[in-house]
């Protein structure tokens, strides 16, 4: 989430000349359906990316990066009318993605893993409207997420947004369900989130985010469970703790430092949001921003010193062993040993996360090579409900986007071969056999088999098609066999061929 801090490089990249996109698109869909993931990658490789490595697909393109959307310069009001004769613009709106079948298989594979982890940890799925009231997202801390709201006025004069994140909607539903709810709630959701930047162009404006939240658990157990979910997801995807780590700290560290320097409480959130930019803006810029909030330069020095700590025992030396942050973190690291994921997590005081509402432990997963932005992030937000006028309930959660993870999987060669699959192809060799072919397909389908019924094609095409969709069997309905109540079957893996009675087709 740090692109805005590299204006020079980024603008250079954005200003490089773009090749016009050919139309009609020369790509054969057939090639993208092949089982080779290498060839399927060619689908959107022509789209521009500001990333330093190839960005081969819709899922890989990051929230923060180029979109594969319309390559025109921005803000031409009639751009939708297309740039080539009278053909409509075939691209989705700037910054958004289509998911053709091969991209959708990848997305489904990823989301299925999200869902399976949630099931294993006994979380319940929930969902909220992608369109929310703007009021839910108006916060004063200068977060990037609230500065880039995709907001507008609806025709009824209401201020609405395409939500930038899901937690406020979740908090809204918790309040709606009432205080008498049987806590804890363990909820997960997978939903699209949006942002809008007015001044830049070609960035992604949407991504999908897996959220898991525990409402009503004040103990560090909640954080420990959430981190187990993240680790389990990585393991399912084939990612090890050599590839990825999870940095953990607590906002209470910063809170203790602010208390040391007698900095007033109301500056806490603002300071957190600024401090989150560490490593993304220069130290001088950060110091300047901190001082502009009213923090003394001595305190700024103290803050930066403490936030550079990477050892929990050093933190304990500085803050004392009765400090809440220290106690929480020690508890979490102890639980991690029991869960068996100690090797994934490390203490890093510089982690504060950029959302205003975190109050306690915060964490983020990162690739150990340091090439990518945070893969996911989360933390405790015990005071969010009171900002909505309700009584507080302890809460904790994380958001896990669909972009960086796929980039990492590509880097590591861990994207599985997700070819199209089918059980049977039924093909009548003669037009008058279309009726029998319908009956055969229908009866196989009733048994739950995935059946593609093909007609009006040459046999050669059908064989190719069978390969392309990885069909197990080809069932040929021919005149001479049909008269005897038989069909011809070809098993595609073994090339075995035989005749069989129609009612013996398994």
């Amino acid at each position: 989430m740090s692109w805005s801090t590299f204006p020079t490089l980024r603008h250079l990249l954005l200003l490089r000349p773009r090749l016009p996109k050919p139309y009609p698109h020369p790509l054969r869909i057939s090639s993208s359906l092949s089982s080779s993931s290498a060839s399927s990658r060619s689908l959107s490789s022509s789209s521009f990316s500001s990333s330093s490595h190839p960005v081969p697909s819709a899922l890989t393109q990051e929230y923060a990066d180029d979109a594969g959307g319309s390559p025109e310069p921005p803000a031409a009001p009639s751009s939708a009318a297309g740039r080539e004769s009278s053909v409509i613009d075939v691209n989705p709106p700037r910054g958004t993605r289509d998911f053709p079948p091969e991209e959708m298989r990848l997305r489904n594979w990823l989301f299925d893993n999200f869902r399976e982890v949630a099931r294993i940890l006994s979380f319940e799925e929930v969902d909220f409207p992608v369109l929310e009231s703007e009021a839910l997202f108006i916060r004063k801390a200068g977060e990037e997420i609230t500065q880039q709201l995709y907001n507008f006025e609806d025709k009824g004069g209401r201020r609405v947004v395409l939500r930038p994140e899901i937690t406020p909607s979740l908090a809204r539903l918790v309040i709606k369900q009432g205080k008498s709810a049987s806590l804890p709630l363990k909820w997960f959701t997978i939903g699209q989130c949006w942002r809008y930047e007015r001044m830049t162009r070609g960035r992604r404006r949407e991504h999908y985010q897996w959220n898991m939240d525990i409402i009503g658990v004040s103990r560090v157990r909640a954080e420990a469970e959430l981190i187990q979910a993240i680790v389990m997801l990585f393991e399912r995807l084939g990612i090890s703790s050599l590839d990825v780590g999870i940095r953990v700290s607590s906002r209470k560290v910063l809170q203790a430092v602010l208390q040391m320097y007698a900095i007033p409480d109301h500056l806490f959130t603002e300071v957190c949001v600024i401090v989150d930019k560490m490593g993304k803006i220069t130290r001088e810029e950060m110091e300047k921003e901190l001082i502009s909030t009213g923090v003394s330069s001595e305190a700024v020095k103290g803050i930066i010193e403490v936030l550079s700590l990477k050892s929990l025992s050093k933190l304990e030396e500085v803050l004392g062993s009765d400090n809440e942050a220290v106690a929480d973190l020690k508890k979490l690291f102890l639980l991690a040993e029991h869960y068996g994921y100690s090797n994934w997590i490390s203490f890093d005081a510089s982690v504060v996360r950029g959302l205003a509402y975190y109050t306690g432990i915060v964490f983020e997963a990162f690739d150990r090579e340091g090439k990518l932005r945070a893969i996911c992030g989360g933390g405790r937000y015990d005071k969010l409900l009171s900002t909505f006028g309700s009584d507080d309930i302890p809460a904790c959660g994380f958001g896990f986007g669909d972009a960086v993870i796929v980039e990492l999987l590509r880097e590591k060669g861990l994207v599985p071969d997700l070819a199209r699959q089918a059980d049977d192809i039924v093909f009548p060799l003669d037009e008058e056999l279309e009726g029998p072919a319908s009956s055969i397909a229908s009866s196989l389908r009733k048994r739950g088999r995935s059946v593609d019924l093909v007609e009006d094609k040459r046999l050669k095409w059908v064989f190719k098609h069978a390969e392309r969709i990885n069909a197990s069997r080809l069932i040929l309905v021919g005149n001479s066999e049909w008269r005897r109540g038989m069909v011809r079957v070809k098993i595609l893996s073994t090339r075995e061929e035989y005749e069989i009675k129609v009612d013996e087709l398994g």
Copy 2:
């Protein structure tokens, strides 16, 4: 999709006094988590509905009906600030739905059935942005769907919409993929669609829609396959052909009538959209609308006469056996016999569907009691691509919403009991056993079991909780057992209890 045609009744319903909603919401979440579907229905039963029968849940509330959204009068710009002290408005935006766990289980069950049917028919899943260019939906035929666009200008000055339907996006992607695509494409998607009505209030502004489309098949086979998908879905949900029928006709019927009366081709689409209102507006209103397009009153009479035909042989008498509509329909009914779904379908010339782009066979599923609006609808749209400036490819598809079907399932008592499920609950009886409990939960989870780890609760609460989430086993980690490397297990279905070695836990 006909509510706008009953202004009197509808406005009476909308104007009836509303009870203020209590806050905090008095409903216990615990009751909504119980396995009784009757009690879970109480969740949103307090929300207003203009329907004549109880509308118990988010999924049941129709696209066309009340929303369960904010009950205030419309267009108060600061309504989001809430109407009770400083508590934020806990409702989702007007006309939208939250999906708490019990609603989400129902939605997932329905969508899983959509997906399973699509798999069985060998369709591939695709997806498109919910936000699209307005240009994709600008059509001149006076369709309801384009008159109620949820459109706005983004900050870059682009005209965009929250899509009202998915077919135009699909057509856009087909064009983008290029003419050399290996046809046919068999695509499905499940996505949210939006509409906005300026003048009315309290209606649903979003619904989810299952779309299945076949691109590149000009034969009636495509229609036959799509109708099989619909029938298969109904059968999976427990709905029989006694509950539901599918009416079939062809736009070519109307085309032939227009030719009889020498009505110019360019009036065809407009006439279709008007004629689709049959039964929703009075005959006089329809005649008036038709005459205002330039159709003679003699032709209007002829149109209405032909559209009242319910028998294919009568149609053949009127149009002749070499008429394309007659040939297509006869073919479809023949194929239906082979597929085995003849009892589901019937010819009804009055079916034209309200979308401008249909060109051939059209169909819609309806409840035989006639209480509900169309459950789903679709047809052939061979000329849509050329309206986007591309060459045409024959195409055919349907949209199946998530509202009417759930209403029907409730009516028929076919909504399954979708209680929360878990395999194990692990509960440490002592705070010092939290570590061992973590290890046990972690190791069960690694085996794929769904495990809820509970602590800081009374044993009584845990037993209740186990019932609530339908856990199979309760694993109690107690001091005396743990010292011997054992845990206490309770099988909740049989009430059987025993001790077992930790590493023998299955």
